[in-house]
């Protein structure tokens, strides 16, 4: 359980990057945080594992206050974070050594690390690459290794800070598929993203704009607020947009999140005609 209580943050001599944001994310949720460049979404992500500390307000992770240095390690163990650039988050020259990096920092005995590393690599389907060098892997594979590195720390929450932004379509599909599987296993997943179609896969979408939270709700209700989204510099996902355009052209379709749903709705509609 993560709670943000009236959190504000400001980088040096700039406008507030986060402005009085309050929200809470329950265990097991699948949440997308979306926003345009400079909306404060990455700043928000970095508050979730104490990389940044709030300028005003409070962030609580499992009841632990991030501003207390005593809690930092415990919070970072609970909240795993995967970043955007796959090249800049792998530390060592061998895949399995890299996955072991987190547990090693936590002081876990070597036999237990071995077990966790094997498990984590299997969970992301990278066990065949255990002895390979990271620079030999594709972007998507590196990102899977980064996720394994987090899993080996046994986190409760996984934050993906635009983790798919630099990947090719195949890499993105693989990563999203793994994230979906981890969520089913009970891990809370928070995806920071600009891709509205990725956000559509989540149970809840939080929209940030200029450091403020402007929308928070399930995809259907968020996508219904097209004006607010547009003001925040965001587009509807293609399928939702298509539905909206059809409605503008005289049809009356419910809001659909994926292609099959839309096709079904159009079918139903034309049957009624």
């Amino acid at each position: 359980m993560i709670t943000l209580d009236h959190v504000s943050y400001q980088y040096d001599r700039q406008d507030a990057a986060l402005n009085d944001v309050s929200l809470s994310i329950a265990d097991g949720e699948l949440v997308a945080i979306v926003g345009h460049n400079g909306s404060g979404k990455s700043t928000l992500a970095k508050h979730l594992n104490a990389l940044l500390l709030p300028y005003a307000g409070k962030v609580l992770v499992d009841g632990l206050d991030t501003s207390d240095p005593e809690n930092t390690l415990a919070i970072r163990q609970k909240v795993g974070m995967v970043f955007q650039n796959p090249d800049n988050q792998l530390v060592t020259t061998i895949v399995e050594e890299d996955v072991a990096f987190g547990p090693e920092n936590l002081g876990i005995p070597s036999g237990e690390i071995r077990r966790r590393v094997d498990e984590a690599l299997a969970a992301v389907g990278m066990e065949a690459f255990a002895k390979k060098a990271p620079h030999m892997l594709s972007g998507g594979q590196k990102q899977r290794v980064a996720i394994a590195g987090m899993l080996a720390m046994n986190p409760q929450v996984l934050v993906l800070d635009e983790a798919t932004a630099m990947l090719d379509p195949q890499g993105r599909r693989d990563v999203l598929e793994i994230v979906g599987r981890l969520h089913k296993k009970g891990i809370t997943v928070i995806m920071i993203t600009q891709h509205m179609s990725e956000a559509a896969l989540c149970d809840r979408i939080i929209v940030l704009s200029g450091g403020h939270m402007v929308l928070d709700g399930p995809p259907r209700s968020v996508f219904a607020q097209e004006d607010i989204l547009r003001k925040a510099g965001l587009d509807l996902p293609p399928v939702v947009r298509m539905g909206a355009l059809l409605n503008a052209g005289g049809m009356s379709l419910p809001l659909c999140l994926d292609v099959e749903e839309l096709a079904e709705a159009i079918w139903q509609y034309s049957c009624k005609m």
Partner: protein, 265 residues
């Protein structure tokens, strides 16, 4: 272009030499280097050489790999040989022509110095050929860790080496990309004298530097996210343990070196 770069010169294998603890290899390498410097006799050089060849055979490292590490030595070797041959003037004169005078002492010294260089580079290459870079840094960290008492940053040094090894291929790849980008905008990297060419490197080095700083910043954040907080309370997945094999290797190597030095005395 840089995808298949091999770091260091590790030759993958599973020989008894490969399986030795990196600390054993590093320490025995130091003993070996000392022996190479102390030996002053043709026959004993051959003995040390025979030992090096024996280890090579045991490690099943192909001679071509060893040759590759010795190849860059050719010029220095030639230079050192000629220099010693002409400069050292002891013992009987073997050859005299104008101002050139070659003596027995000079000839001997020239051969000694050549053998020494070959044995030195060949022997140390054997260590890097049979040990992965990560095992080497690991071994170095453990060997130096007692110095932590004197505030010697053994863990930090090892971490720096690991990160450097990790990022060399990444940065090479990036340099390649930037170079192509600048070439496609008409940058001329190949013509001109050495100063003009050095100047032409500026548009490649500046972006490379800037992006390295950005990388460093992001990597630091990723490391912090993974609870990195220095060596304090840190455990390792692979724990180095000396085995019977290490004891045997140490006994054989040190025994041989002792015999060789005794024979000399």
């Amino acid at each position: 272009m840089f995808k298949d770069i091999t770091l260091g010169q590790y030759f993958p294998g599973n020989s008894p030499i490969h399986r030795l603890d990196p600390r054993t290899k590093l320490l025995l390498m130091i003993a070996y280097i000392a022996a190479v410097f102390l030996v002053q006799d043709m026959w004993l050089f051959l003995a040390v050489g025979a030992f090096a060849v024996g280890v090579t055979l045991l490690a099943r490292v192909p001679a071509s790999y060893l040759w590759r590490s010795l190849k860059p030595l050719r010029l220095i070797l030639l230079f050192m040989f000629v220099l010693n041959l002409l400069m050292i003037q002891t013992g009987d004169t073997l050859f005299h022509w104008g101002f050139l005078r070659i003596t027995e002492g000079g000839l001997r010294q020239a051969f000694y110095i050549s053998f020494r260089l070959i044995l030195l580079v060949g022997g140390t290459s054997l260590v890097t050929l049979t040990t992965t870079p990560i095992a080497l840094t690991d071994g170095l960290e453990r060997l130096l860790s007692p110095l932590a008492v004197f505030r010697f940053p053994a863990h930090e040094l090892a971490m720096i080496m690991t990160i450097a090894l990790r990022f060399i291929p990444t940065l090479l790849e990036e340099a390649d990309k930037i170079m192509k980008a600048q070439l496609s905008r008409g940058a001329d990297l190949e013509s001109g004298n050495i100063f003009q060419r050095a100047k032409a490197m500026v548009p490649i080095l500046v972006p490379l530097f800037i992006s390295s700083f950005r990388r460093a910043d992001e990597l630091a954040m990723a490391m912090e996210s993974r609870c990195y907080h220095g060596s304090e309370g840190r455990t390792r997945m692979h724990v180095l343990r000396f085995s019977r094999r290490d004891g045997l290797a140490a006994a054989v190597t040190l025994g041989l070196i002792a015999l060789i030095l005794l024979a000399q005395a």
